[in-house]
Amino acid sequence: MTERVVVTGMGAVAPNGVTLEEFEANLRSGQSGIRKIDKLADLKFTCQVGGVPPAAVEARTEALFTEEDRLAMNSNITYGAIAALDAWEDAGLVRPESGDDEVLWDTGAIIGSGIGGMDTIAERLVPLVNAGKVRRLGSTCVEQIMASSVTAKVGGLLALGNQVTSNSSACTTGTEAICMAFDRIRCGQAKRMVAGGSEGSSHYVWGAFDAMRVLARGFNDAPQSASRPMSATAAGFVPSSGAGVVVLESLDEALHRGAPPIAEVLGGAINCGGHRMGGSMTAPNPAGVQRCIRGALADANTDPSQVDAISGHLTATMADPKELANWAEALGLPASKLPVITSTKSIIGHSLGAAGGLESVAAILMLRGGFVHGSLNCEDLHPAIEPYAASIPHHTVAKSDLRIIAKAGFGFGDVNSCLIFRKWNPQDKEVFQ
């Protein structure tokens, strides 16, 4: 059984916008969400800038959730749940009443996190346990620290009755979640899935990366210049947070209920480089990355020549030049012929487990709107990326013929995932893959 799968809704909570509309507007205008984080300076972090959804998220939280809900929602759950509810509404679906007994047996959720509820662990669980006050943890700690915390909440908010789970695969988590949800619908095990990635804001998470010397250095006084993927002066990634979620449905289900598809998920692939052939815990095996991209294209029955744009992983580390080379190799194209490629992280930083979710939403927004947002702060391209210069816009460019975009994510553990999205055209209804 093979079902075609379409995107019918999107939600985003990002450092540069807490609604989908705001996120799109700020992607188009290149409005960075990176700012100075005083707490990081107080704690003597090397990187003192980050991406945290702006204060408006608090009003949204109050409007969407009951007081009891909020007592058991840390930042990871809050971002993920807002993005999921927004995607649900964007898909034209009605949020169920909390008291009714209707369960949506054909709808599930896969929303992952790279780290998860570290704020709860660090600020509540560890101090109280160490102080011998376990009893003071109350009942709301477990549901905020369990790896499935986001989907456990979303499952209740939306009365989901199909598979409800959270994946975790470092920085490819969000892309992988959409890939897995796509597979579940494609093989007929669900009609609809809510999928993406979420990551909370916690200096305890970011501290571990700061210690590795992989976070941006040297731009603490110029936060909006700090996230510099593909730049010769890139000095590490800017940590951030948020959530990006999509509603996927079988094409039949979407058409049956009259929901207009936004894009079709043509195919996807997930793999691991095995920490071999140059790969390691922190570096990608190039063969693994290329196999993943080629695998996604093959799964999508799409020729490399049909790819109009690439939403890269592109974090602002030494891996960027290798990523460009891997895309060119996987697509079988010389550097000068690479499709237009962009880095959403240049605008919102690297939101770890949320990155693939937010960047997939950005990719689908670009398909729908016929544009490719620019990559900020890379006017001084890395020398090894210079050959690709013609494919790297620094400002938003209109691209009305944008049809197919490839979105990939790569993560610690040498893990990779890649999705192929195609802008929905009503004529595609009759086209079989």
Partner: protein
């Protein structure tokens, strides 16, 4: 502290956890916290902790297990305050 004061503060503590806003609007001393207000049983732990903080008392598990109605909570608080 009068019994009415304690009841008012007990209700304020229980309020955010009450799923039945109708039962909350008509709350009486006999109102069951779980059955009538439809509080999730897991959240009783948080309600007891809130009683401890609000009234500066200690509530052990045996005492907590005896709290079923609003009045049970009020009487428990009054007894512990009287024993202080």
């Amino acid at each position: 502290m009068t019994q009415q004061d304690v009841m008012s503060r007990v209700i304020d503590i229980v309020r955010p956890f009450a799923k039945s806003k109708e039962a909350l609007a008509d709350v009486t001393p006999e109102t069951s916290i779980l059955k009538d207000l439809k509080v999730n049983s897991a959240r009783l732990v948080d309600i007891i902790l809130a009683f401890e903080d609000e009234f500066d008392i200690g509530v052990d598990d045996d005492d907590a297990d005896k709290v079923n109605t609003i009045d049970d909570a009020v009487q428990m608080v009054m007894a512990k305050k009287a024993a202080c």
